[in-house]
């Protein structure tokens, strides 16, 4: 069974095939690959773009999407093996995954970390469990990475810059009042290095480095696909000559679950906001963000409203990129 859980499972060429399909869909290509098929969309967390694009994308491909919210409209689920289910979960993922596989042809999961214990959250247990027990392909709608966002992001970069290879790509940490998921930041490194870009990760301190798993994949991608990867805490150096600036906030992993002391550190770095002055240091870079974005916290109104802001274009690509990915996945099982 071929799932779409992380882009690390696919080489550049295969991802490019999905992107080529995405571009064809954007140009008006029609497909009924989901005719008579249905798609389960399981949301453990809120969503605007993801829900809208998966529902519409499924419908445009001829299928029908079902939205389920475990713990709200649907039963709370258990993910541990072998324990006595005497707490709040009414159903085990083994049954949920097997049953949904009887009704649906794809199972899509959004499950953010619980933000208590990174050693636990980094196992990505919810989607991994569904992938283990489902008998249909499982798709990641954001867990500890966000591969659908990666495709939409790379489609946008190729639209704006042509070939991404050796272009200067900056992923900058930004402030946010709450400690957020590292998923999109991890994904940013995965996809930019996979396409041979010269990648800089800008974060306030060593404490804001991403999980070593993703840093290592980034280094492996550099070895395989060219490009480069560096980490810096120097804002000016980071923005200098950048072609792409991608922003994301996240909580520091060493303080995971101990967010009080982390907040004291985080609060010192509100100046990491993306503003017009910083953008002025770049090589007329495009700016983007996965959205939702808090204005004047992560980026200023001036940046968000500038012509170089590509966040809306990237968001639109979610629809096309996910259709391309589903088309590929169903044609290549």
């Amino acid at each position: 069974m071929k799932h779409f859980i992380t882009t690390a499972d696919f080489d550049q060429q295969t991802l490019q095939q999905m992107l080529d399909l995405a571009n064809q869909f954007k140009q008006g290509k029609s497909s009924d690959i989901l005719k008579n098929k249905s798609v389960a969309l399981l949301f453990f967390n809120p969503s605007l773009r993801t829900r809208t694009t998966f529902e519409i994308g499924t419908w445009q491909l001829g299928g029908h999407a079902i939205v389920l919210e475990p713990g709200k409209s649907a039963w709370p689920l258990e993910f541990e093996l072998g324990n006595k289910m005497d707490a709040t979960a009414e159903e085990h993922v083994i049954e949920a995954a097997k049953v949904l596989s009887r009704f649906c042809d794809l199972i899509c999961i959004r499950a953010f970390p619980k933000f208590e214990n990174w050693e636990y959250d980094r196992q990505d247990k919810i989607i991994q469990s569904f992938a283990q027990y489902a008998t249909v392909p499982v798709i990641n709608m954001e867990t500890i990475t966000h591969p659908c966002q990666e495709l939409a992001h790379m489609q946008m970069i190729q639209e704006k810059l042509g070939t991404p290879k050796k272009k200067k790509y900056l992923l900058t940490w930004t402030y946010h009042p709450k400690p957020l998921n590292t998923a999109v930041a991890n994904s940013s490194l995965l996809i930019s290095t996979k396409f041979g870009m010269d990648v800089t990760l800008l974060c306030p301190t060593e404490e804001y480095l991403l999980d070593e798993r993703y840093l290592n994949i980034a280094k492996e991608n550099v070895a395989q696909y060219g490009g480069s990867f560096q980490v810096t805490h120097d804002i000016k150096q980071a923005y200098q000559d950048a072609d792409v600036v991608y922003a994301k906030s996240w909580g520091a992993l060493p303080y995971f679950g101990h967010w009080e002391p982390e907040k004291q550190i985080r609060d010192r770095y509100q100046h990491f906001i993306v503003d017009e002055e910083k953008m002025g240091l770049t090589n007329n870079a495009i700016f983007s963000h996965c959205l939702p974005l808090r204005r004047n916290i992560k980026a200023t109104d001036g940046v968000m409203d500038a012509d170089y802001c590509a966040a809306i274009d990237e968001a639109e690509n979610r629809l096309h990129a996910q259709k391309g990915m589903m088309q590929y996945l169903l044609e290549n099982q």
Copy 2:
């Protein structure tokens, strides 16, 4: 961009075109004007009729509706310009409106007042912001007016009474344990005066008058379309010879946000309930209400179960009227 935010933006003839289409749909007309199109339904408040009719109406016109609940299944939104988004909102309406416009061909909004400050709520900021930033038509599913209800209401009146011009129309305030939205009351005045009816607004005291904006539009409609408009606090005079009785409860605007003292006043007027005795004063009037309605609070069981109660017929027309309105809107951009 032509939106459908208030019927005040359309003349009688144009609204009649929508109603004619509504009647054709009720008679079995089919249309695929929404083929390959999708419609975003944003609910900031609960709904039964609105959600059901927009979902089914969209589907009957060949399209696909997406239901989004900001603050619940979707991200909480910010509507102020230029501020630092450090509170609870994760996304600005600028991005939400622009992004949804990339995915959907119509954006429909239900956003009731917050009931704290009428000077704020009367700006109707949520739907006005969506209309400002969206690049597709925006439709009002009830904010501070309820124009879809107006169409369904007028379609019902024309079905029951023929030409509405110079028919006697009573909008009566009724009691309700909670201070409710003035939207349907405002809409009642807008649509009845727009079609040249002789309109009476019955409310307990001057404090229960509606916002002057809508009183003024009612007077302008009288000047343009004939008919008349009067306010009274005299129940018997109001019901005398009425052809249509429409009921609605609302909170007194001068006490907006100070609902404790308002409730003490409101509680004195529970006898404004629509009952069979009052209906006996009319010219065999039809009775209607937008629903939901608390029985034996706003109207008695006897009135609700009478043959002259047209509330269910009016509710049915929501489906047809909204299809007529969407058909008109998409054909006339």
Copy 3:
């Protein structure tokens, strides 16, 4: 108007017609009996299988399903007649049922007991009210019985065992930390006796007997369709030579609404769990459960993961059986 509220309203032959249609759908039969029709799904309680299968089943039959959650996304409803609606309900079932009948061609209801007063809950007032005021067929998605589960269960039994007549059928009570609904247990007795099986109800004490209404129907079914029905509290005797073991937990009716003392009794019977040792006493029985199921509380991992566990097959049949039932219902009004 022919509703589908309880299988007690249908004889064995009619239910078999629905099952035959279900089998045809499972074999690939297509139907557009719901073309241009819509189906209201009202959920007063959570759901995974029911929601998914009714949404997909409706779509596969050419129709469109609307999901409504009264008290959450839709208005809270009142079910008593004649009272002054001054509490929390904003709308009466009379209007809700009549209005939905104008928009939809079927109304499906999930409404569990309130667990406070069995004399009240056993009236099944929510679905009975909808059936009284709706002008379209009403379908039970689980209230105090679960007839859709019955069809899926019997379809599975016929698939695994052939003719069910005179096969030994065990319904065993199991432990659960919370007092659960008797609906599926009631349904288990209704359907197994309706098809002439030799039925044993195993429960810890007389206090865990089901409502006499369903015990009486079981006895009437025995008289009409052959088979037999006995109650026992002896685990070994109950499992001996069984062909089917069906498990369900429920709260003791004599303690309904007084769940503290009931829990003290219930906690003594955790050994009613279905395990491999008990299954070893049977005639190579199949095991099933309606799901959701708490593993290692109601049944062990060993039982759930065994080849003889048919719970997933039964769940799959929900889709086919409900399509068969809707096809029958719409063809036979």
